[in-house]
Every structure is written in C-alpha cells, then in structure tokens.
Amino acid sequence: MPNIFKRPGSLKFLALASSALVVAALSGCSAASTTESTPNVSSDPVSLGEPVRGGSATLATQGSPVNMDPADGQLYASILVYQNIFSTLIDVDKDYQFVSNLAESWLQEDDLTWSFKLVEGVKFHNGETLTADDVAFSIDRMRTSGLGAFVSVFESVEVIDDLNFKIRLSAPYGAMEATLASFVDIVNRKAVETSDPKENPIGTGPYKLTNWVKGSTVTLTRFDDYFKADKPYLDEVVFETVPDDSVRLAGLQTGKFDWIQTAPAQQIPELLESTEFGQSNSGAYLPYLVLLNTVSGPFTSIEARQGLNWVIDRKQIVELAFSGAAVEASEAVSDVNPFFSGVNIYEGAPDLGKAQALFEEAGVTDESLTILVDQADSAYALIAQIIQSGLEGVGMTSTIETVASSEYFGRLVSGDYDIAMTIFSASLDPAMTYNLLGQSESGFNFTGYKSATLDAAIETFAFSTDQDARKASYPALVEAFQTESPFLFVANRQTQYFTSATLGGASSLPTLEVRVEDLWQAVAR
C-alpha cells in the first residue's frame, strides 16, 4: 500500500529513538548499579569475633505494636518490642535455666511466699531509681489488666525495703519463675502516674523509645545508664513492620534489614546453606492449636472432639502448612522443653475409620462446620484447609471464614465458631498454657469447657512447687486434656531468625523474647 508520505525517515527515527530511550531508561540505569554488596566478613557466627559496641540495626517484624504498656500487652507484636524497653525480674536462657535480671537473688521461702532482692542502683529511663515499690506497683496494676489472668495467683506484694520484697501467692504456683520471666515487666510508678504508659513507656531496659511511627517503625536508642554495664552493644535499633513474608526476605537480601522475624518456610533450606546470611538457633517454641466450641454446636460431645483428633493429619500440617519448619505436637511444648511428655493417645492418626465411628457415636454426621481463621498469619489458612480436607474424608463439609484480627477475637469470645485456630505464645512452662486455656474459670478459656477432671489435673500440675512431682504428674495432665480435648495442639513452629552476615548475637528463646541487647554489628554501620 503506498505510503502517503515520501520521506518517513525523520518520523521513523523519532519513534525508534523514543522507544529506545524508554528501554534504555529501564535497563540502563539498573545495569549501571551494582547488586547486593558482598560482605567481607564471613557469616559463620564464630568468626564474627567478640561483640563490638556501636552501630545500628533494622529489625523487620511481622506485626506492628499497638501499645507499649506491659500490663496491657496482648499482642505479641507489642510485647516483642517493649520487652527491650522494660526488664523482668528473672530471665530464662536457651537451656531453660532461670537467670537473674532485675532480681539479684530470689528464694522460695514456703509454698506461698517468694522473697526477692533487687540489684542495687538500677535506673529507669527517667532517672528514677528502681525500688521494690515499683515492683509492687507493676504487679498490682497487672492484676486488673489485660494480662491479669497470668498473675491471678499473685495475691500481694510485701515491700520490705527499697531492695527487698516478698510475693505472696494465693496458691502454690509451679510456674512462678516462668511467669516472672515471661511477662512481668517492671514499670516506674511515677512515670505511669504522670503520663500515658501506652504511649510513653519508661522502663529499666537497655533501650529507650525515641520515635514511634504507628503501623510503621519504632526507634529505640541506647540507654546509657543501663544496669548491665557492658550491654547493649548497638546504639540504635529500628523495628520496622513488614507484614509480607517475601518483602521481608527481599529486604534481608538487599541489605535493607539486618534481622527478620520469619522467612517463607520453603526458602529456609537455601538460607541455611547460604554464606550471605546468618541465623540464630532454632527452637520449636510456638504451639499452634485448634480451639473447639464446646458450648454449642457439634463439639459439645466428647466423641466428636475425639473424632476430630483422629481426622487431623499432623504430618501433613507440618509438611504442607509449615514446609517442614515445625514439629508435630500433641501437647503444649516440644521435646526441647524439660517437661515434654511425648504422650499421644491418638498415635497413628489420621485414622478415618476410627474418626467416622466416633462421629457416628456422637450423632454428628453431615454437619456443616465453621472454621474460624485469623487473617494475620498465613499458616492458619493452610492448616484450616488441611483440616477441611480431612473432614471431607469423613463426609463432613466445612467453611473456612477468614476474618480480621479484631473480628476474630470478638467471635472467639462470643462463641461464634465451631473450630478456630490460634497460637499461644506463653508456653515456657506448660502450666501457663493449660491453666489459662483450660481452667474452668479462666478468662482465656475460649472453648467454654468446664471439667472437674481437668481442673484437678491442672491443680496437681500447676499449683505445686515440687518440680519433680510436677514433672511426674505432667504426662497425666496431657493425657487428660487429650481425652477430653476442648482444644488440641497440632504443631510447634520452629522459631529461627535470619540475619545479615555481620549481625551477631541473634538467638531464639523459649519465651519468644527478641533480646536486642545481645545483638551487635561486626562491621560498624
């Protein structure tokens, strides 16, 4: 076809040039820049040498803190951050040994009384000195707050002098030290009375809060008068909220983040082998469990609950929902925990035949169940789908309802579900878990299950201070809970943090505490 124009040269050139310009702009500028700079320090933690003071680090977390008041911290995302602003009386190490923190020494005087002596001269961020009065104040206010259930057995705190005090319990409590190590952060009475503790946390911890962009970043700066003279190492720490697993990992790979909370499980083998990144130890410290509505619906009958236990394929959950980064669990703790019992009355599950028989006995067939899933953690949805698939094997249909966290808790409380998934991050001592979730009168008893047998088993295990006797009575507790099964454990997730090659000191702890004071940068940043 004849072209209208005889000399298209200039046009053609222009068109080509502009297209070329676009292409060049896109690729040229990226080709000119270098990719991730390779660190000149090996990632093998041993060769990182001794901790060095100075530098900063950016830690990418999954969630975002909502309030900094340790008496009210119900979200793990908040706890993770503010545990570096406050200190507990006691700490726990990787080997489940209790070590002193703010409490220089402590002693169990009798079944109901524990006495403590504080380290002298500990300062709060506002210059005030730590006294026993602050401890009494902290524990008292916790009792009437969101985390009150954990300290419900703490009857009173008797202040003897500035450094000495006694905690009196209403019943002997085997998980006393564990509770103190997990949740009881000490606040300053004066600070709480003069400003909003949710927004202005004043603690004795290694870092002060200097900036908080809600939903985005938290900046912590070194507290120079920290009572541990040699710590912390880093001058500044920034917690950044990155809800997306792949974006977090990408940030680690490009050097934007020095530490990430979780990595997509299927990338873990690669990360472990790579010399570009470091990692902490890994421990199966986080139990995932399934709550059953025992007040209304099909799971009011014990046969139905037991039937469900025979349906669930824990091996598949570990493989498919966690890509192997978890261990099967039938109790609150995994085998790294001193209490671990290994009891599993449903050995050999899944067994659809047994499940079917039990469901029929319960009169629960052809039911349509609701599985409630909190949208915050992608593992829940995967576990739910696996359970759903299992249920189909016994002819039961189920719908998975994924809801926002705020709605999720509302529905849990009002019993608007049949099956719900959750985690329970307080399992340093299994008494905390079973007591809070399973005791008839507990405020955290979402399943609504009340049983004298279980209460008795909890009483024996939790409310005794003879640790040997406790260890001996634990298997019976596990078995009792497995038999009546108001909730059941499915897996215990491996907690492992991945870091840049130059960040040392990262460790994974049974309390799921992220101890930033241990971190250091081998290369000054």
Binding site: M1, N3, I4, F5, K6, R7, P8, S10, L11, K12, L14, A15, S18, S19, L21, V22, L26, S27, C29, S30, A31, A32, S33, T35, S64, V66, G146, V213, K214, G215, S216, V242, P243, D244, S246, V247, A250, G251, T254, K256, Q375, A404, S405, S406, E407, F409, G410, V413
Partner: protein
C-alpha cells in the same frame, strides 16, 4: 462550558462523599465493640459510641466528618488511634510516584508507537504494534507484574522483586524499586493509548486538510507535528481521563504485589482489618483525585478544541 463543567463537579464530589461516608454506617457490626474488643461491656460501649459521636443523627455526623475533611482532618484510626491524615501524608507520595511514573511510561511509549503505526498503516509495523497493544490491554497488570518479577527480578536481577526505596536513599535505587511496578501499571493505559493515538492520527491524516497541505508542499513531519498531533490529541486526552481510573485502581493491586507502602496497600490493609475510618479517607482521596484528573482533561479538551467552548456536551 468550562463553568458548567466545574459546576457539575461539585455535586459529583458531594455525591461520592455521601457514598463513602455511608460505608462506615452501613457495615455490619458495631465499631465501638470492635475497638473495645474483649473489654466490651454495656457501659463502655455507650461511652465509646458517645466519644466517637455515633449517637448523633446521621446528617450531623456527616456534616462533622465533611467539615473535618475540608480542614484536612480525616479523624483518627480506630485501631491504632493514630491520626489518619498522618498516615495519608506518609503514603500518598509513594502512590503518586508510582502512578506518575506509570503514566509517563505509558505516554512516552504509546504516543510515538501509535503515530508510527498510523503512518505505516497496513504494514508489518502497524500489525505488530496493534498486536502488542491488544496483548497489553488483555494482560491484567498484576499478571504482568508477577511474570515480570520472575523475569527481571528473580531471573535477571535487574530490579528488586519487592519493597520500596524512598528518594532519600538514592535517586537511582528509588527509580529501580518503582521500575517494575510502574511498568506493570502502565501496560493497560499504554495499550489503549497506542490504539487511540493510531486511530485518531488515521482520522486526521485522512482528512481533506491534510491532503491539501501535502499537495501544497508542506513536509510530512511538520504536518504530523503541527497539525495532526494537535487535532488527534483531543480523543487521546479523553481516553486518558477514563484510563486514569484504571491506573488508580491498579495501584491497589500493584502495591500489594510489590510490597510498596502506598495508599493502595493501605486500602487493602484497612479493608482486611475492618478499619473503616481509614478506608473512608483513602477512598475519598482516590475518588477526589480521579474527579480532579477528569476535570483537568475536560478543561484541556476545551482548550485544545476551541470549537467546543461554546457548544454544550452531554
């Protein structure tokens, strides 16, 4: 006509703000209960409702909200109690950068290609440009984004696969983090623009005026640039106005895919968390932007085409 257009914008803005305001009031569930969570009791719910102004008549609430918005105060977020305006200020630049770069990419690529295709009508250049344009229109932006990540980020390591680098950390890195998302976002607009440009150019080039100019000895390039493009720009600009809506909607998905912390991602997060005040604010901003862009294109339309200044359109 310009005044008419401006006058029409006001009721549209008002109408859309009513719809947006109603989101919060029509959703199931009680905002007070969800704020209080497990601490909800009868009295506390009543107190919170009063504090939020939820016990006032609907039109009063609307007035208060609208008044606040006019002052630039979008209220507070239910969940974190943060000022929504702050969140918007943080995130808006990112979305604007993304949409802006996408828009520019589309313009820079589409218009020359459309012109070339028109000039070379029927030839293989024309056919391939049209085929590519159809493909770009048909590929959903996040599909291209995903495939692009595979190819350019994972395979060739040219750009990061996700995440946003602000300008302060380096102009080049900033552009690199936006390159792939903006490219993905620009495809739909680019494809449509190419075709519109081509067809508008064809229309103009086939007209009597051009034949006459050619016969009179004007050079082809001057005809194209001084006359044809100017007249072809009218339908091009009309289409741009419509397509901007798709770019704005597209930022929601693209920001999610690439992990860019912009307004689009905020909308998704707010939706998933049932954070309705934030959702309201974001949608209002988007809609206002869209209306604004359409207003500008309409005005440009009349500027470029004086004949229309006196006639009315429907």
């Amino acid at each position: 006509m310009v005044l008419r257009r401006l006058a029409l914008t006001v009721p549209i803005l008002l109408g859309t703000s009513v719809v947006v305001f109603l989101i919060l009031r029509l959703v199931p569930g009680d905002p007070a209960a969800s704020i209080l969570g497990s601490n909800a009791t009868e009295q506390s719910i009543v107190k919170v409702r009063a504090a939020l102004g939820l016990d006032l008549p609907l039109w009063e609430q609307f007035g208060a909200w609208l008044g606040g918005v006019a002052r630039g105060d979008f209220g507070r977020d239910y969940i974190t109690n943060q000022e929504i305006t702050e969140q918007l200020e943080l995130r808006l630049p990112i979305t604007v950068a993304l949409a802006g770069v996408a828009f520019l990419l589309a313009l820079i690529a589409a218009i020359p290609l459309g012109v070339v295709a028109a000039v070379r009508e029927g030839g293989w250049v024309d056919r391939s440009v049209r085929a590519v344009a159809v493909l770009f229109i048909a590929v959903p932006d996040f599909v291209f984004g995903l495939l692009g990540i595979l190819l350019f980020a994972v395979g060739l390591s040219l750009v990061p696969s996700s995440g946003y680098t602000p300008i302060e950390e380096g102009y080049l890195e900033h552009l690199r983090s936006l390159a792939l998302p903006a490219a993905a976002l620009s495809l739909g607009l680019g494809g449509v623009l190419t075709r519109v440009t081509r067809s508008a150019m064809l229309d103009v080039l086939g007209s009597d005026y051009v034949r006459f100019a050619k016969a009179s000895g004007f050079s082809s390039s001057s005809i194209v640039f001084r006359y044809a493009l100017r007249n072809a720009s009218v339908p091009i600009i009309t289409v741009i106005g419509l397509q901007v809506g798709y770019i704005l909607g597209g930022t929601v998905v693209i920001e999610q895919l690439f992990g860019l912390p912009g307004l689009g991602q905020l909308i998704v997060e707010a939706m998933l968390a049932r954070n309705y005040p934030v959702l309201q604010a974001c949608i209002l901003v988007f809609v206002a932007a869209f209306i604004l862009v359409n207003l500008i294109t309409d005005l440009l339309y009349t500027v470029l085409n004086p004949r229309l200044r006196r006639t009315s359109t429907s």
